[in-house]
């Protein structure tokens, strides 16, 4: 808070840097599991619905196997999310003090979303054989809605950090606090939509990656090949639609930056001079000395058009801001990575669907399958880039133009050891989760599950430990 500097006048920069790295690492790790945790339930739901429509048991097997993967991922997603939630108060007590006072609603409502997800996830998994099919679908819908709601709500806090609303701060006092106005802050809808859609992109392309890999490993024409091909087609449809919507909505997100956080947009585009008819720089690296983007491709006038739908829109450059307000310049690269991947994923989905549906070819060429294999990891890279762009691009503010990160940080020192411990635990969990997934799916093959599904009266969901 502008008037509250006294609290932190002896900040040791190193501790602040470690606190930021620690929290950033936690988030970067959590987000992988969280995003898949939002995207995968939708895929499971679609598989269950496909089964209801076609009565093809392979869809049940799909749903079951994805659920299993989802449950394993939750084993890491939930504890790391718990770390994220608690670490916010431990590392940024100044921030949570403001959030608690002005913006408590999203976190509060998010708890209910977590409960809904946790309750119905357990019901879907452990009571699957005892409840009616419609109840199973209903549980699944609630799981998917719970996951979506938690993503939307947590993003709401993030949106508030960029476009704070719902209070005034005068003479060291918060006045006119309106928690609902804070909740519906200007960038809430755009940001939340972007996060939700990009999670569906990720969930779909992760499935596509695995399916394509399995198609490469199994003989064309075999039953397993066909099984994975079915999964691939679902994911291409879902992934294609979601990535197209993500891109259009991302365009709106950029326009919001133009309006609300111009220095972030300037850094994302590597623009130093304020100008109309501003060019769009694609690729390359921002160079502080020459104030240009080196080795990039410039498209004249395009940035102005992107920012305001007309070529004479004036886009503000970094030089109009004091340098201590500049975000780190590397965000340009992150922004490019995200947009490039987003566009690529749209092409991949269209190409795959066209090949199958319009050219009526049944067999994908090997090189195309290999591209599909990379699509899931690429989506994750886009997610990571987007978040680091969004959070680091907001620096030096934790709440834009209101509370600086340094003021919000804990006064504790010697955080280095904590950083090492947490990083170590993430390495352990990350390694273990991959090993467990590999182990499980090697031991329980698709054919095992298909056999089980075809034998009546053998419980499918609970028979594989």
């Amino acid at each position: 808070m502008k008037g509250k500097v006294c609290r932190k006048d002896v900040t040791i920069m190193d501790d602040l840097l470690i606190a930021r790295s620690l929290f950033g690492t936690t988030m970067a790790f959590h987000i992988i599991f969280a995003t898949i945790g939002v995207g995968l339930p939708l895929m499971i739901l679609i598989a269950e619905l496909m089964y209801q429509k076609t009565k093809d048991l392979e869809y049940v097997v799909m749903a079951k196997r994805w659920t299993k993967a989802f449950a394993v991922l939750l084993g890491v997603g939930i504890p790391t999310g718990t770390i994220a939630g608690v670490q916010l108060s431990l590392l940024w007590p100044g921030f949570m003090e403001v959030i608690g006072r002005v913006m408590p609603l999203p976190f509060q409502i998010e708890i209910y979303a977590f409960f809904v997800e946790a309750l119905f996830m357990s019901i879907y998994v452990y009571a699957a054989e005892r409840i009616a099919p419609w109840m199973r679908i209903a549980s699944l819908i609630l799981v998917a809605l719970g996951a979506l709601a938690s993503a939307v709500l947590i993003t709401n806090v993030h949106a508030f950090q960029g476009t704070p609303a719902g209070f005034r701060y005068e003479n060291g006092q918060f006045v006119d606090i309106d928690p609902w106005a804070a909740f519906f802050n200007p960038s809430f809808f755009v940001t939340a939509t972007h996060v939700a859609l990009s999670a569906y992109v990720t969930g779909a392309f992760i499935v596509a990656s695995v399916a394509a890999f399995k198609m490469l490993r199994n003989e064309y024409g075999s039953r397993i090949y066909h099984f994975h091909q079915k999964a691939l087609m679902i994911s291409l449809v879902v992934g294609g639609i979601a990535s197209f919507l993500t891109a259009t909505n991302g365009h709106t997100a950029a326009q919001y930056l133009h309006q609300y956080q111009p220095e972030k947009l300037a850094a994302a585009e590597g623009l130093f001079e304020t100008q109309s008819h501003a060019p769009l720089a694609i690729g390359g690296f921002t160079d502080r000395e020459t104030e240009t983007v080196k080795w990039g491709i410039e498209i004249p006038w395009a940035l102005s058009f992107l920012a305001g739908n007309s070529f004479d829109t004036v886009v503000v450059g970094l030089n109009d801001f004091p340098e201590e307000w500049w975000p780190p310049l590397f965000v340009h690269t992150l922004f490019n990575a995200m947009v490039l991947i987003g566009s690529l994923l749209i092409f991949i989905a269209i190409a795959g669907l066209a090949w199958k549906k319009f050219l009526k070819k049944d067999r994908f060429p090997k090189w195309f399958l290999w591209i599909l294999v990379t699509s899931g990891p690429l989506a994750i890279i886009a997610i990571e880039s987007g978040w680091i762009l969004a959070c680091s691009g907001r620096q030096p503010w934790v709440i834009y133009r209101f509370l600086s990160t340094a003021q919000a940080a804990t006064t504790a020192t010697d955080l280095g050891i904590l950083f090492i411990l947490f990083a170590g635990v993430y390495v352990i969990l990350g390694t273990a989760v991959v090993l467990v997934l590999l182990y499980f799916f090697r031991k329980n093959t698709v054919m095992d599950d298909i056999d089980r599904a075809e034998k009546k009266n053998v419980p499918l969901f609970s028979t594989n430990s």
């Binding site: 003090e97 708890i111 809904v116 309750l119 409840i131 606090i177 006064t411």
Partner: protein
């Protein structure tokens, strides 16, 4: 009642609910580890059958608790966040290992034993660390040299009071969880497991009571203000001891309801829960008005009235919506004979 008092009551309610759920959760994990080599008694199966569907729900309560603190008492969030950095981080690290390996142990069946050991051991330390938050809020180990409250770790680790709290936390965890599992085994008709857990409860119960007395003794030396205020409610503390004894009756006496069965675990579970409820009410009341003694009180830390109203409304609406979900959940996993009395238990259904 003032708004701040309502808020602290709600918070206290959450703490209590979480405390009970967490003892069941961490305790069940621990027992499932202890009895992993004694397949005949099914004690491990029973523990897992309880644990598998519930740990996620229990975990959500931790988050609910943290969120409730900073949305109801934001100023306290500043102080608590600062002084709890180290203990809080230790809890988080253990919790991450515990939850993840709990899930992994159910999936990777060949490696179940080592994975269960990791989750069991990390899990049983957590309640001890969680409860150490209480003595930290008594203010003895805080210094204000920099103008903000800072925790003096050396004092924490040399305080008898902190250690009695820690041992009390762990023994209560074992006590309550073995009681609950005794009841759960009986409903599931697993009499071997039932006997095992009944015996465990008989051991852990008296230890917990002794530790509770030790807490009072050390409290007198380290936080006299709190001790004195708790003593104002001495009659209630005795009532709580009476409920403990009633719990003992539930453990030792032959059942009124069934011939030839020793013990009434349901009675014991209820009596002991009431015992803890009363005791923690006395503790909580004595702690008021301080959240962190002596610098943070419920009034100085209380949130903005508008925010409080909005949050309170979400509590009511949220729980109204969730309540049927909890009931349905309970009926599926605590009440459904088909789940409880599985012939061929498929633990680790995920």
């Amino acid at each position: 009642m003032t708004d701040a008092l309502i808020a602290i009551t709600v918070l206290w309610g959450f703490v209590f609910i979480y405390a009970v759920m967490a003892t069941m959760d961490f305790g069940a994990g621990f027992w499932s580890m202890i009895y992993i080599n004694r397949e005949k008694t099914k004690a491990t199966n029973i523990a897992n059958r309880y644990l598998s569907p519930t740990w996620e729900v229990t975990n959500t309560f931790i988050v609910a608790l943290v969120v409730a603190v900073y949305s109801l008492f934001p100023t306290a969030a500043y102080t608590l966040g600062t002084i709890l950095l180290i203990p809080g981080s230790m809890i988080l690290l253990l919790l991450a290992l515990r939850s993840a390996f709990l899930v992994f142990s159910n999936i990777a069946s060949e490696y179940r034993k080592p994975l269960t050991y990791i989750s069991g051991v990390t899990g049983i330390i957590i309640p001890g660390l969680l409860i150490s938050v209480l003595p930290i809020t008594h203010g003895e180990y805080l210094n204000y040299e920099t103008g903000n409250a800072q925790l003096d770790l050396q004092q924490v680790f040399t305080s008898p009071n902190v250690y009695t709290f820690i041992v009390f936390g762990i023994s209560s965890t074992l006590f309550l969880s073995s009681l609950l599992l005794a009841d759960y085994s009986k409903v599931s008709n697993e009499m071997e497991a039932y006997k095992v857990y009944l015996r465990d409860a008989k051991i852990a119960g008296p230890i917990s009571l002794i530790m509770a007395f030790c807490i009072m003794l050390t409290l007198q030396r380290e936080a006299l203000w709190l001790y004195n205020k708790m003593m104002e409610d001495l009659p209630l503390l005795w009532v709580s001891v009476v409920f403990f004894l009633l719990g003992g009756v539930g453990l030792f006496a032959p059942s009124f309801f069934e011939k030839g069965v020793r013990g009434m675990p349901r009675l014991a579970v209820i009596a002991v829960t009431v015992q803890y409820l009363i005791a923690s009410y006395v503790y909580g009341k004595a702690h008021l008005p301080y959240i962190v003694y002596p610098s943070v009180t419920i009034d100085s830390a209380f949130t903005d009235p508008n925010s409080f109203r909005a949050v309170f409304i979400t509590y009511i609406v949220g729980f109204a919506i969730l309540f049927p979900g909890f009931i349905y959940f309970w009926s599926l996993f605590m009440h459904d004979k088909r789940y409880l009395q599985q012939k061929n238990p498929q633990e680790g259904a995920r």
